[in-house]
Symmetry: C2
Subunit: 294 residues, 2 copies
Protein backbone atom coordinates (compact mmCIF):
# COMPACT_ATOMS: atom_id res chain seq x y z
CA UNK A 1 0.00 0.00 0.00
CA UNK A 2 2.96 2.36 0.21
CA UNK A 3 3.44 4.64 -2.71
CA UNK A 4 6.87 6.13 -2.93
CA UNK A 5 6.34 8.04 -6.15
CA UNK A 6 6.04 11.50 -4.65
CA UNK A 7 9.05 10.89 -2.41
CA UNK A 8 11.13 9.60 -5.29
CA UNK A 9 10.17 12.59 -7.39
CA UNK A 10 11.30 14.84 -4.57
CA UNK A 11 14.64 13.19 -4.00
CA UNK A 12 15.72 14.54 -7.39
CA UNK A 13 14.20 17.95 -6.82
CA UNK A 14 15.94 19.35 -3.74
CA UNK A 15 13.28 18.57 -1.13
CA UNK A 16 14.74 20.97 1.46
CA UNK A 17 14.96 23.97 -0.84
CA UNK A 18 18.60 24.54 0.05
CA UNK A 19 19.77 24.58 -3.57
CA UNK A 20 16.57 25.64 -5.35
CA UNK A 21 14.83 27.82 -2.76
CA UNK A 22 11.41 26.18 -2.59
CA UNK A 23 10.55 23.37 -0.23
CA UNK A 24 8.80 20.15 -1.37
CA UNK A 25 8.55 21.40 -4.92
CA UNK A 26 8.14 17.86 -6.38
CA UNK A 27 5.17 16.90 -4.21
CA UNK A 28 3.82 20.44 -4.48
CA UNK A 29 3.68 20.19 -8.27
CA UNK A 30 2.27 16.65 -8.06
CA UNK A 31 -0.54 17.87 -5.78
CA UNK A 32 -1.30 20.82 -8.06
CA UNK A 33 -0.29 23.27 -5.31
CA UNK A 34 2.73 24.63 -7.16
CA UNK A 35 2.93 25.52 -10.88
CA UNK A 36 5.34 23.22 -12.72
CA UNK A 37 6.83 26.09 -14.75
CA UNK A 38 7.66 28.21 -11.70
CA UNK A 39 9.46 25.26 -10.08
CA UNK A 40 11.34 24.45 -13.27
CA UNK A 41 12.53 28.06 -13.46
CA UNK A 42 13.92 28.14 -9.88
CA UNK A 43 17.56 29.20 -10.00
CA UNK A 44 20.40 27.35 -8.24
CA UNK A 45 21.37 29.53 -5.23
CA UNK A 46 25.06 28.87 -5.87
CA UNK A 47 25.01 29.10 -9.67
CA UNK A 48 22.73 31.64 -11.37
CA UNK A 49 23.24 29.89 -14.75
CA UNK A 50 21.50 26.68 -13.62
CA UNK A 51 17.74 26.24 -13.27
CA UNK A 52 15.93 23.20 -11.89
CA UNK A 53 14.77 22.33 -15.42
CA UNK A 54 18.26 22.62 -16.94
CA UNK A 55 19.73 20.45 -14.20
CA UNK A 56 16.99 17.80 -14.40
CA UNK A 57 17.71 17.65 -18.13
CA UNK A 58 21.48 17.37 -17.50
CA UNK A 59 21.06 14.38 -15.15
CA UNK A 60 18.47 12.73 -17.42
CA UNK A 61 15.48 13.13 -15.07
CA UNK A 62 13.35 15.48 -17.18
CA UNK A 63 11.15 12.62 -18.39
CA UNK A 64 7.73 12.61 -20.02
CA UNK A 65 5.74 11.16 -17.10
CA UNK A 66 3.38 13.92 -15.93
CA UNK A 67 4.08 15.04 -12.34
CA UNK A 68 0.41 15.53 -11.44
CA UNK A 69 -1.91 13.60 -9.10
CA UNK A 70 -4.73 13.39 -11.64
CA UNK A 71 -2.43 11.61 -14.11
CA UNK A 72 -0.49 9.54 -11.53
CA UNK A 73 -2.83 9.18 -8.55
CA UNK A 74 -2.03 7.69 -5.13
CA UNK A 75 -4.82 5.95 -3.17
CA UNK A 76 -3.10 7.12 0.02
CA UNK A 77 0.24 8.59 1.10
CA UNK A 78 2.13 7.54 4.24
CA UNK A 79 5.43 9.23 5.01
CA UNK A 80 8.07 7.86 7.36
CA UNK A 81 10.33 10.45 8.98
CA UNK A 82 12.51 11.25 11.96
CA UNK A 83 10.81 13.59 14.41
CA UNK A 84 13.42 16.38 14.05
CA UNK A 85 12.52 17.37 17.60
CA UNK A 86 13.20 16.10 21.16
CA UNK A 87 9.70 15.08 22.30
CA UNK A 88 9.65 11.33 21.57
CA UNK A 89 13.04 10.91 23.24
CA UNK A 90 12.02 12.97 26.28
CA UNK A 91 8.77 11.06 26.68
CA UNK A 92 10.46 7.67 26.02
CA UNK A 93 8.18 6.83 23.13
CA UNK A 94 9.13 4.93 19.97
CA UNK A 95 6.54 6.00 17.38
CA UNK A 96 4.34 9.04 16.90
CA UNK A 97 1.21 9.29 14.85
CA UNK A 98 1.46 12.75 13.29
CA UNK A 99 -1.75 14.75 13.52
CA UNK A 100 -0.78 17.46 11.03
CA UNK A 101 1.84 19.94 9.87
CA UNK A 102 2.18 23.51 11.12
CA UNK A 103 1.66 26.40 8.73
CA UNK A 104 4.76 27.77 7.03
CA UNK A 105 5.66 30.91 5.17
CA UNK A 106 8.86 32.01 3.49
CA UNK A 107 9.86 35.60 2.83
CA UNK A 108 12.69 37.55 1.25
CA UNK A 109 13.52 41.00 2.62
CA UNK A 110 15.66 43.51 0.74
CA UNK A 111 17.02 46.74 2.15
CA UNK A 112 18.49 49.56 0.08
CA UNK A 113 20.44 52.42 1.58
CA UNK A 114 23.51 54.30 0.41
CA UNK A 115 27.07 53.06 0.46
CA UNK A 116 29.39 55.44 2.22
CA UNK A 117 32.76 55.76 3.86
CA UNK A 118 32.72 54.29 7.38
CA UNK A 119 34.98 57.04 8.71
CA UNK A 120 33.84 60.08 6.77
CA UNK A 121 30.07 59.66 7.08
CA UNK A 122 28.57 60.78 10.40
CA UNK A 123 25.98 58.59 12.10
CA UNK A 124 23.25 61.17 11.38
CA UNK A 125 23.86 61.36 7.63
CA UNK A 126 24.33 57.69 6.80
CA UNK A 127 21.72 55.33 5.29
CA UNK A 128 23.14 52.05 6.58
CA UNK A 129 21.34 49.13 4.91
CA UNK A 130 22.42 46.54 7.47
CA UNK A 131 21.08 48.05 10.73
CA UNK A 132 17.40 47.84 9.59
CA UNK A 133 17.75 44.11 8.84
CA UNK A 134 19.55 43.62 12.17
CA UNK A 135 16.59 45.30 13.91
CA UNK A 136 14.23 43.15 11.82
CA UNK A 137 16.08 39.97 12.88
CA UNK A 138 15.73 40.95 16.54
CA UNK A 139 12.02 41.74 16.03
CA UNK A 140 11.42 38.33 14.38
CA UNK A 141 12.76 36.61 17.49
CA UNK A 142 10.73 38.84 19.82
CA UNK A 143 7.39 38.32 18.00
CA UNK A 144 7.95 34.57 17.49
CA UNK A 145 8.58 34.12 21.22
CA UNK A 146 5.60 36.25 22.19
CA UNK A 147 3.23 34.35 19.87
CA UNK A 148 4.58 30.84 20.52
CA UNK A 149 5.56 30.62 16.84
CA UNK A 150 8.90 29.88 15.21
CA UNK A 151 10.73 32.56 13.24
CA UNK A 152 14.15 32.20 11.67
CA UNK A 153 16.33 34.57 9.69
CA UNK A 154 18.56 31.90 8.11
CA UNK A 155 20.49 33.81 5.47
CA UNK A 156 21.60 37.42 5.83
CA UNK A 157 24.08 39.10 3.52
CA UNK A 158 25.43 42.59 2.93
CA UNK A 159 26.46 43.70 -0.55
CA UNK A 160 29.79 45.08 0.61
CA UNK A 161 32.91 43.00 1.17
CA UNK A 162 34.79 45.92 2.69
CA UNK A 163 34.91 46.47 6.46
CA UNK A 164 35.21 50.25 6.01
CA UNK A 165 32.18 50.73 3.77
CA UNK A 166 28.69 51.38 5.11
CA UNK A 167 26.49 48.67 3.55
CA UNK A 168 24.42 50.06 0.68
CA UNK A 169 22.14 47.05 0.38
CA UNK A 170 21.37 43.89 2.28
CA UNK A 171 19.20 40.81 1.99
CA UNK A 172 17.70 38.25 4.33
CA UNK A 173 15.32 35.32 4.32
CA UNK A 174 12.59 34.65 6.88
CA UNK A 175 11.05 31.27 7.71
CA UNK A 176 7.91 31.62 9.84
CA UNK A 177 5.88 28.74 11.29
CA UNK A 178 2.95 28.18 13.61
CA UNK A 179 0.21 25.62 14.16
CA UNK A 180 -2.19 28.57 13.72
CA UNK A 181 -2.55 30.34 10.39
CA UNK A 182 -4.12 33.28 12.27
CA UNK A 183 -0.91 33.66 14.31
CA UNK A 184 1.11 33.73 11.11
CA UNK A 185 -1.20 36.42 9.70
CA UNK A 186 -0.70 38.47 12.88
CA UNK A 187 3.12 38.22 12.87
CA UNK A 188 3.26 38.94 9.13
CA UNK A 189 1.18 42.10 9.63
CA UNK A 190 3.31 43.30 12.55
CA UNK A 191 6.58 42.67 10.73
CA UNK A 192 5.36 44.52 7.65
CA UNK A 193 4.29 47.49 9.81
CA UNK A 194 7.66 47.41 11.54
CA UNK A 195 9.49 47.66 8.20
CA UNK A 196 7.31 50.64 7.21
CA UNK A 197 8.11 52.27 10.57
CA UNK A 198 11.86 51.69 10.04
CA UNK A 199 11.63 53.27 6.58
CA UNK A 200 9.99 56.36 8.08
CA UNK A 201 12.56 56.65 10.87
CA UNK A 202 15.54 56.21 8.57
CA UNK A 203 15.88 58.65 5.64
CA UNK A 204 17.31 57.07 2.48
CA UNK A 205 16.28 53.53 3.44
CA UNK A 206 13.83 51.43 1.43
CA UNK A 207 12.64 48.06 2.70
CA UNK A 208 10.74 45.48 0.66
CA UNK A 209 9.34 42.21 1.99
CA UNK A 210 8.04 39.57 -0.43
CA UNK A 211 6.33 36.35 0.60
CA UNK A 212 7.86 33.72 -1.66
CA UNK A 213 6.03 30.65 -0.36
CA UNK A 214 3.08 29.82 1.87
CA UNK A 215 1.68 26.57 3.16
CA UNK A 216 -1.34 26.67 5.43
CA UNK A 217 -1.45 24.41 8.48
CA UNK A 218 -2.57 20.85 7.56
CA UNK A 219 -4.64 18.33 9.56
CA UNK A 220 -4.06 14.77 8.33
CA UNK A 221 -6.84 12.40 7.22
CA UNK A 222 -8.54 10.73 10.17
CA UNK A 223 -8.77 7.27 8.59
CA UNK A 224 -5.11 7.33 7.54
CA UNK A 225 -4.09 8.42 11.07
CA UNK A 226 -6.13 5.59 12.58
CA UNK A 227 -4.38 3.11 10.25
CA UNK A 228 -0.99 4.35 11.45
CA UNK A 229 -2.07 4.29 15.10
CA UNK A 230 -3.46 0.74 15.12
CA UNK A 231 -0.45 -0.55 13.20
CA UNK A 232 1.95 1.22 15.60
CA UNK A 233 0.15 -0.11 18.68
CA UNK A 234 0.26 -3.61 17.17
CA UNK A 235 4.03 -3.29 16.57
CA UNK A 236 5.45 -1.57 19.70
CA UNK A 237 2.55 -1.58 22.15
CA UNK A 238 0.27 1.30 23.12
CA UNK A 239 2.58 2.65 25.86
CA UNK A 240 5.28 3.52 23.30
CA UNK A 241 2.99 5.30 20.83
CA UNK A 242 2.53 9.07 20.97
CA UNK A 243 0.73 11.72 18.95
CA UNK A 244 2.60 14.78 17.69
CA UNK A 245 2.21 17.69 15.33
CA UNK A 246 4.97 18.15 12.78
CA UNK A 247 6.87 21.40 13.17
CA UNK A 248 8.84 20.78 9.99
CA UNK A 249 7.47 20.91 6.46
CA UNK A 250 6.95 17.62 4.65
CA UNK A 251 5.79 16.27 1.32
CA UNK A 252 2.75 14.99 3.22
CA UNK A 253 1.57 18.57 3.71
CA UNK A 254 1.28 18.72 -0.09
CA UNK A 255 -0.19 15.26 -0.74
CA UNK A 256 -2.77 15.75 2.07
CA UNK A 257 -4.58 18.24 -0.15
CA UNK A 258 -5.45 15.59 -2.76
CA UNK A 259 -5.19 12.15 -1.14
CA UNK A 260 -5.63 10.59 2.35
CA UNK A 261 -2.30 11.20 4.07
CA UNK A 262 -0.61 10.46 7.40
CA UNK A 263 2.90 10.46 8.82
CA UNK A 264 4.91 8.29 11.19
CA UNK A 265 7.69 9.76 13.36
CA UNK A 266 10.56 7.96 15.08
CA UNK A 267 12.90 9.57 17.67
CA UNK A 268 15.70 12.01 16.82
CA UNK A 269 18.66 11.93 19.22
CA UNK A 270 18.65 15.20 21.24
CA UNK A 271 16.06 16.53 18.80
CA UNK A 272 18.86 17.62 16.46
CA UNK A 273 18.18 17.90 12.74
CA UNK A 274 19.58 19.71 9.68
CA UNK A 275 22.98 19.28 11.28
CA UNK A 276 25.73 16.64 10.94
CA UNK A 277 24.84 15.42 14.47
CA UNK A 278 21.37 14.31 13.30
CA UNK A 279 20.97 10.69 14.45
CA UNK A 280 18.30 8.00 14.77
CA UNK A 281 19.40 4.53 15.93
CA UNK A 282 18.97 1.56 13.57
CA UNK A 283 16.76 -0.02 16.20
CA UNK A 284 14.42 2.98 16.11
CA UNK A 285 14.36 2.93 12.32
CA UNK A 286 13.34 -0.76 12.25
CA UNK A 287 10.26 0.13 14.28
CA UNK A 288 8.77 1.74 11.23
CA UNK A 289 8.48 -1.63 9.49
CA UNK A 290 4.93 -1.81 10.70
CA UNK A 291 1.83 -3.08 9.00
CA UNK A 292 -0.76 -0.64 7.87
CA UNK A 293 -4.07 -2.12 6.81
CA UNK A 294 -6.66 0.14 5.27
CA UNK B 1 59.25 68.58 -2.50
CA UNK B 2 56.51 65.99 -2.93
CA UNK B 3 57.42 62.41 -2.23
CA UNK B 4 55.10 59.91 -3.77
CA UNK B 5 56.96 56.79 -2.71
CA UNK B 6 54.64 55.72 0.11
CA UNK B 7 51.59 56.37 -2.06
CA UNK B 8 53.01 54.37 -4.94
CA UNK B 9 53.85 51.53 -2.61
CA UNK B 10 50.27 51.52 -1.40
CA UNK B 11 48.66 51.54 -4.80
CA UNK B 12 49.94 48.00 -5.27
CA UNK B 13 48.98 46.88 -1.80
CA UNK B 14 45.22 47.44 -1.56
CA UNK B 15 45.21 50.75 0.30
CA UNK B 16 41.55 50.40 1.36
CA UNK B 17 41.86 46.91 2.81
CA UNK B 18 38.92 45.64 0.74
CA UNK B 19 40.84 42.70 -0.71
CA UNK B 20 43.49 42.17 1.96
CA UNK B 21 41.74 43.28 5.15
CA UNK B 22 44.22 45.80 6.51
CA UNK B 23 44.16 49.47 5.65
CA UNK B 24 47.28 51.42 4.55
CA UNK B 25 49.45 48.35 4.91
CA UNK B 26 52.15 49.71 2.55
CA UNK B 27 52.68 52.99 4.41
CA UNK B 28 52.23 51.16 7.73
CA UNK B 29 55.14 48.84 6.95
CA UNK B 30 57.19 51.74 5.60
CA UNK B 31 56.67 53.67 8.86
CA UNK B 32 57.57 50.61 10.97
CA UNK B 33 54.03 50.55 12.42
CA UNK B 34 53.09 47.21 10.83
CA UNK B 35 55.28 44.09 10.60
CA UNK B 36 56.14 43.29 6.97
CA UNK B 37 55.60 39.55 7.47
CA UNK B 38 52.08 39.94 8.89
CA UNK B 39 51.07 42.12 5.91
CA UNK B 40 52.62 39.70 3.43
CA UNK B 41 50.62 36.87 4.99
CA UNK B 42 47.24 38.66 4.72
CA UNK B 43 44.82 36.44 2.81
CA UNK B 44 42.70 37.59 -0.14
CA UNK B 45 39.11 37.87 1.20
CA UNK B 46 37.73 36.34 -1.99
CA UNK B 47 40.39 33.66 -2.50
CA UNK B 48 41.88 31.87 0.53
CA UNK B 49 44.72 30.49 -1.64
CA UNK B 50 46.18 33.93 -2.36
CA UNK B 51 48.26 35.98 0.08
CA UNK B 52 49.50 39.54 -0.42
CA UNK B 53 53.05 38.15 -0.84
CA UNK B 54 52.05 35.53 -3.41
CA UNK B 55 50.12 38.09 -5.42
CA UNK B 56 52.89 40.73 -5.29
CA UNK B 57 55.22 38.02 -6.61
CA UNK B 58 52.73 37.07 -9.34
CA UNK B 59 52.50 40.65 -10.65
CA UNK B 60 56.27 41.23 -10.36
CA UNK B 61 56.12 43.76 -7.49
CA UNK B 62 57.90 41.79 -4.78
CA UNK B 63 61.18 43.61 -5.36
CA UNK B 64 64.28 43.96 -3.22
CA UNK B 65 63.93 47.63 -2.24
CA UNK B 66 63.30 47.71 1.52
CA UNK B 67 59.88 49.13 2.44
CA UNK B 68 61.14 50.95 5.55
CA UNK B 69 61.53 54.65 6.35
CA UNK B 70 65.05 54.23 7.75
CA UNK B 71 66.23 52.76 4.44
CA UNK B 72 64.11 54.99 2.17
CA UNK B 73 63.46 58.16 4.17
CA UNK B 74 61.17 61.04 3.24
CA UNK B 75 62.03 64.55 4.44
CA UNK B 76 58.29 65.29 4.62
CA UNK B 77 55.02 63.74 3.40
CA UNK B 78 52.14 65.73 1.94
CA UNK B 79 49.03 63.86 0.86
CA UNK B 80 46.41 65.23 -1.51
CA UNK B 81 42.92 63.79 -1.09
CA UNK B 82 39.23 64.38 -1.55
CA UNK B 83 37.47 65.26 1.71
CA UNK B 84 35.13 62.23 1.63
CA UNK B 85 32.67 64.34 3.60
CA UNK B 86 30.26 67.25 2.93
CA UNK B 87 31.84 70.07 4.97
CA UNK B 88 33.92 71.93 2.34
CA UNK B 89 30.97 71.92 -0.06
CA UNK B 90 28.52 73.10 2.63
CA UNK B 91 30.85 75.88 3.75
CA UNK B 92 31.72 76.86 0.14
CA UNK B 93 35.45 76.36 0.68
CA UNK B 94 37.94 75.06 -1.87
CA UNK B 95 40.84 73.71 0.22
CA UNK B 96 41.18 72.39 3.75
CA UNK B 97 44.35 72.14 5.77
CA UNK B 98 43.92 68.85 7.62
CA UNK B 99 44.77 69.04 11.31
CA UNK B 100 44.91 65.31 11.94
CA UNK B 101 43.24 61.93 11.52
CA UNK B 102 40.71 60.40 13.90
CA UNK B 103 41.55 57.19 15.75
CA UNK B 104 40.48 53.96 14.09
CA UNK B 105 40.04 50.38 15.21
CA UNK B 106 39.02 47.28 13.31
CA UNK B 107 37.49 44.18 14.87
CA UNK B 108 36.24 40.75 13.82
CA UNK B 109 33.42 39.17 15.77
CA UNK B 110 32.56 35.47 15.54
CA UNK B 111 29.47 33.83 16.98
CA UNK B 112 29.02 30.08 17.39
CA UNK B 113 25.67 28.50 18.16
CA UNK B 114 24.03 25.29 16.97
CA UNK B 115 22.50 24.65 13.57
CA UNK B 116 18.97 23.39 13.79
CA UNK B 117 15.75 22.93 11.89
CA UNK B 118 13.85 26.22 11.60
CA UNK B 119 10.50 24.46 12.04
CA UNK B 120 11.32 21.73 14.53
CA UNK B 121 13.38 23.73 17.03
CA UNK B 122 11.36 25.82 19.48
CA UNK B 123 12.47 29.39 20.22
CA UNK B 124 13.48 28.41 23.77
CA UNK B 125 15.76 25.54 22.76
CA UNK B 126 17.60 27.09 19.83
CA UNK B 127 21.09 28.61 19.86
CA UNK B 128 20.70 30.96 16.90
CA UNK B 129 24.09 32.41 15.95
CA UNK B 130 22.68 35.31 13.92
CA UNK B 131 20.47 37.08 16.48
CA UNK B 132 23.44 37.94 18.81
CA UNK B 133 25.30 39.64 15.94
CA UNK B 134 22.08 41.43 14.93
CA UNK B 135 21.81 42.74 18.51
CA UNK B 136 25.51 43.66 18.40
CA UNK B 137 24.98 45.60 15.14
CA UNK B 138 22.14 47.57 16.74
CA UNK B 139 24.27 48.23 19.85
CA UNK B 140 27.17 49.51 17.72
CA UNK B 141 24.87 52.12 16.17
CA UNK B 142 23.42 53.10 19.56
CA UNK B 143 26.81 53.57 21.28
CA UNK B 144 28.40 55.34 18.30
CA UNK B 145 25.54 57.85 18.23
CA UNK B 146 25.64 58.38 21.99
CA UNK B 147 29.41 58.98 22.00
CA UNK B 148 29.61 61.08 18.82
CA UNK B 149 31.80 58.37 17.28
CA UNK B 150 31.41 56.39 14.05
CA UNK B 151 30.72 52.66 14.17
CA UNK B 152 30.08 50.45 11.15
CA UNK B 153 29.33 46.77 10.78
CA UNK B 154 30.31 46.48 7.11
CA UNK B 155 30.36 42.74 6.49
CA UNK B 156 28.01 40.28 8.15
CA UNK B 157 27.63 36.67 7.02
CA UNK B 158 25.89 33.54 8.26
CA UNK B 159 27.37 30.10 7.59
CA UNK B 160 24.11 28.65 6.30
CA UNK B 161 22.80 29.08 2.76
CA UNK B 162 19.47 27.49 3.64
CA UNK B 163 16.45 29.61 4.62
CA UNK B 164 15.08 26.83 6.86
CA UNK B 165 18.20 26.25 8.94
CA UNK B 166 18.93 28.14 12.15
CA UNK B 167 22.39 29.71 11.64
CA UNK B 168 25.05 27.77 13.56
CA UNK B 169 27.76 30.38 13.14
CA UNK B 170 28.09 33.94 11.95
CA UNK B 171 30.75 36.56 11.43
CA UNK B 172 30.94 40.33 11.25
CA UNK B 173 33.45 43.14 11.02
CA UNK B 174 33.41 46.35 13.02
CA UNK B 175 35.05 49.65 12.04
CA UNK B 176 35.12 52.12 14.93
CA UNK B 177 36.41 55.72 14.75
CA UNK B 178 36.59 58.80 16.91
CA UNK B 179 38.75 61.88 17.27
CA UNK B 180 39.22 60.73 20.89
CA UNK B 181 41.11 57.56 21.72
CA UNK B 182 39.45 57.59 25.16
CA UNK B 183 36.03 57.41 23.49
CA UNK B 184 37.17 54.41 21.47
CA UNK B 185 38.38 52.73 24.67
CA UNK B 186 35.00 53.36 26.27
CA UNK B 187 32.96 51.96 23.35
CA UNK B 188 35.28 48.96 23.03
CA UNK B 189 34.81 48.15 26.74
CA UNK B 190 31.03 48.48 26.54
CA UNK B 191 30.76 46.34 23.41
CA UNK B 192 32.92 43.63 24.95
CA UNK B 193 30.76 43.64 28.10
CA UNK B 194 27.66 43.46 25.93
CA UNK B 195 28.94 40.34 24.16
CA UNK B 196 29.67 38.71 27.54
CA UNK B 197 26.14 39.58 28.66
CA UNK B 198 24.66 38.07 25.46
CA UNK B 199 26.64 34.86 26.03
CA UNK B 200 25.22 34.60 29.56
CA UNK B 201 21.65 35.24 28.41
CA UNK B 202 21.84 32.75 25.54
CA UNK B 203 22.77 29.14 26.36
CA UNK B 204 24.88 27.45 23.69
CA UNK B 205 26.21 30.72 22.26
CA UNK B 206 29.88 31.72 22.26
CA UNK B 207 30.99 35.15 21.11
CA UNK B 208 34.57 36.18 20.39
CA UNK B 209 35.71 39.68 19.48
CA UNK B 210 39.26 40.26 18.21
CA UNK B 211 40.76 43.67 17.50
CA UNK B 212 42.59 43.18 14.21
CA UNK B 213 43.91 46.72 13.73
CA UNK B 214 44.31 49.91 15.71
CA UNK B 215 45.49 53.37 14.81
CA UNK B 216 45.50 56.06 17.47
CA UNK B 217 44.30 59.55 16.60
CA UNK B 218 47.03 61.58 14.86
CA UNK B 219 47.79 65.32 15.01
CA UNK B 220 49.78 66.50 12.00
CA UNK B 221 53.10 68.35 12.19
CA UNK B 222 52.59 72.06 12.84
CA UNK B 223 55.27 73.26 10.40
CA UNK B 224 53.93 71.02 7.63
CA UNK B 225 50.38 72.29 8.28
CA UNK B 226 51.60 75.89 8.13
CA UNK B 227 53.27 75.16 4.78
CA UNK B 228 49.99 73.81 3.40
CA UNK B 229 48.02 76.71 4.82
CA UNK B 230 50.21 79.52 3.45
CA UNK B 231 50.40 77.80 0.04
CA UNK B 232 46.61 77.33 -0.03
CA UNK B 233 45.96 80.96 0.95
CA UNK B 234 48.41 82.09 -1.74
CA UNK B 235 46.59 79.97 -4.36
CA UNK B 236 42.86 80.42 -3.65
CA UNK B 237 42.73 83.25 -1.10
CA UNK B 238 42.14 83.02 2.65
CA UNK B 239 38.33 83.09 2.40
CA UNK B 240 38.30 79.73 0.57
CA UNK B 241 40.65 77.91 2.95
CA UNK B 242 39.29 75.84 5.83
CA UNK B 243 40.69 73.56 8.52
CA UNK B 244 39.30 70.06 8.99
CA UNK B 245 40.04 66.83 10.79
CA UNK B 246 40.12 63.70 8.63
CA UNK B 247 37.45 61.16 9.51
CA UNK B 248 38.87 58.63 7.07
CA UNK B 249 42.13 56.73 7.48
CA UNK B 250 45.05 57.79 5.31
CA UNK B 251 48.65 56.86 4.61
CA UNK B 252 49.54 60.15 6.28
CA UNK B 253 48.40 58.74 9.64
CA UNK B 254 51.23 56.21 9.21
CA UNK B 255 53.91 58.54 7.83
CA UNK B 256 53.16 61.15 10.53
CA UNK B 257 54.79 58.84 13.07
CA UNK B 258 58.21 59.10 11.43
CA UNK B 259 58.28 62.23 9.25
CA UNK B 260 56.66 65.72 9.19
CA UNK B 261 53.30 65.15 7.54
CA UNK B 262 50.25 67.15 6.46
CA UNK B 263 47.25 66.71 4.22
CA UNK B 264 45.28 68.81 1.75
CA UNK B 265 41.56 68.22 1.16
CA UNK B 266 39.42 69.29 -1.78
CA UNK B 267 35.57 69.11 -1.89
CA UNK B 268 33.62 65.87 -2.42
CA UNK B 269 30.26 66.31 -4.16
CA UNK B 270 27.48 65.65 -1.58
CA UNK B 271 30.16 64.23 0.72
CA UNK B 272 29.81 60.84 -1.00
CA UNK B 273 32.75 58.46 -1.02
CA UNK B 274 33.42 54.72 -1.40
CA UNK B 275 30.53 54.68 -3.82
CA UNK B 276 30.28 54.99 -7.64
CA UNK B 277 28.75 58.47 -7.15
CA UNK B 278 31.99 59.78 -5.61
CA UNK B 279 32.86 62.97 -7.53
CA UNK B 280 35.22 65.92 -7.37
CA UNK B 281 35.18 68.39 -10.25
CA UNK B 282 38.32 68.83 -12.38
CA UNK B 283 38.32 72.48 -11.38
CA UNK B 284 38.50 71.54 -7.70
CA UNK B 285 41.26 69.05 -8.39
CA UNK B 286 43.35 71.70 -10.15
CA UNK B 287 43.28 73.77 -6.97
CA UNK B 288 45.65 71.31 -5.37
CA UNK B 289 48.42 72.34 -7.73
CA UNK B 290 49.67 74.73 -5.09
CA UNK B 291 53.16 75.66 -4.07
CA UNK B 292 54.48 74.43 -0.77
CA UNK B 293 57.72 75.96 0.41
CA UNK B 294 59.36 74.53 3.49
Amino acid sequence: LFHYLALLINSTRCREGSRFARMCSGSGVWAGEEPLASCHSLVDLTDPETTMASDLKRIGYLGETPCLHVKNPLSAHFELHIEQGPLLEQREKKVAVVSGVQGMRWYEIRCKGAEGHAGATSMDTRADALVPLALFTVKVEELSRREGARGTVGVLTTATKSPNTIPGSSFCTLDLRSTSDATLDKIETELTSYLIQLEKERPGITLVIVRTWKKDAVVFDEVARDCVKSAAVQTVGESLVDELISFAGHDSAETAVVTPTAMIFVPSKDGISHNPSEYTSEEDWYVIIIHIVI
